[in-house]
Subunit: 187 residues, 2 copies
């Protein structure tokens, strides 16, 4: 149905380069670029998942500047992109929020450079999202990726964007853009 | 042939919101995200066009940190993405560099939210790039877009990414990612 699609950028729990579970920093471009991409592909919500209080406050202040402050007056397009953007303290909280709003739990989609038994092709997921009435939540990891625990709770894992490429290290912002385009662009 | 494709991010000449011709600031994410995307889609060169001496120096210093400095030692993947990235002082200089390297002038492609007599569809340009032996240069504007003069010297203007969408304000980093994917991903 395309009108119940949510996206989350997960800053915790993710791995660092040594496979410790950490909380990564929010960058200003994670907020701006991904809000604008979500707005362009008509997503219903963009949730930035960050449980650390200081980072949560800073991120809320930046979003507030564009939603209610002088930023929105200066740039109306940006104000609009930020309408769907909010902070959430955890993946569980985001799932709960969607369940309360939509009346059922969302289908959880993650992405990975590896293949899993529940790996799904872009075309297949795109068809599913368009015909399905259920809400969907696309999770994107930061740092060195989502933890195994999160991967295991996903309903589907999207195939790699560039399975055949020798070099494949897109930024999460670029990956979000390409994946939403492949799933949701007019065909 | 896909092996002579270049991309430039143009910081000058572009419009600001009042349609004055200006030079915009280079942001760190323009360097990182777009280098990584260009590396992932096997582009031959990424040129950041910035004529202002102070900005040129700063950008060269950032690139140098990842190409030769401690950044590259810390993160080998990033070092590799930066191999194809360089500063150029103008669009003309970039065209000259490509002409010297490839033995002929590149076909110039720009993007726009508007339609022009030489607007080309993604599918058509993708087929052309794959079968053509000529070099291609994709130009992306910052700020409020490339000047009319640059648009007029383009061989083709790519159709809008989201022609049907009500809200269509992708960041240039996201637009680069989507456009390279549409043109160059394995079909």
């Amino acid at each position: 149905m395309r009108n119940k699609i949510y996206l989350s950028l997960v800053h915790y729990p993710v791995y660092n380069r040594n496979r410790d579970i950490v909380c990564t920093s929010v960058t200003n471009f994670d907020i701006h670029d991904i809000s604008r991409t979500c707005g362009t592909y008509d997503l219903k919500g963009y949730r930035i998942i960050v449980p650390v209080e200081a980072q949560k406050k800073l991120t809320e202040r930046i979003i507030g500047y564009w939603q209610d402050g002088t930023g929105g007056q200066y740039n109306k397009d940006r104000e609009r992109a930020f309408e769907i953007t909010k902070i959430s303290v955890s993946i569980e909280e985001t799932i709960k929020e969607i369940e309360e709003k939509e009346g059922e739990k969302p289908i959880i989609i993650t992405t990975s450079a590896r293949r899993f038994p529940n790996t799904i092709a872009f075309k297949e997921l795109s068809d599913k999202i368009i015909s399905d009435k259920k809400p969907y939540l696309l999770l994107f990891g930061t740092g060195w990726g989502l933890t195994d625990e999160i991967m295991e709770m996903s309903d589907y894992i999207l195939e790699p964007v560039r399975g055949e490429a020798e070099y494949n290290h897109l930024s999460v912002r670029s990956a979000v853009a390409i994946i939403l385009d492949r799933l949701l662009a007019e065909k």
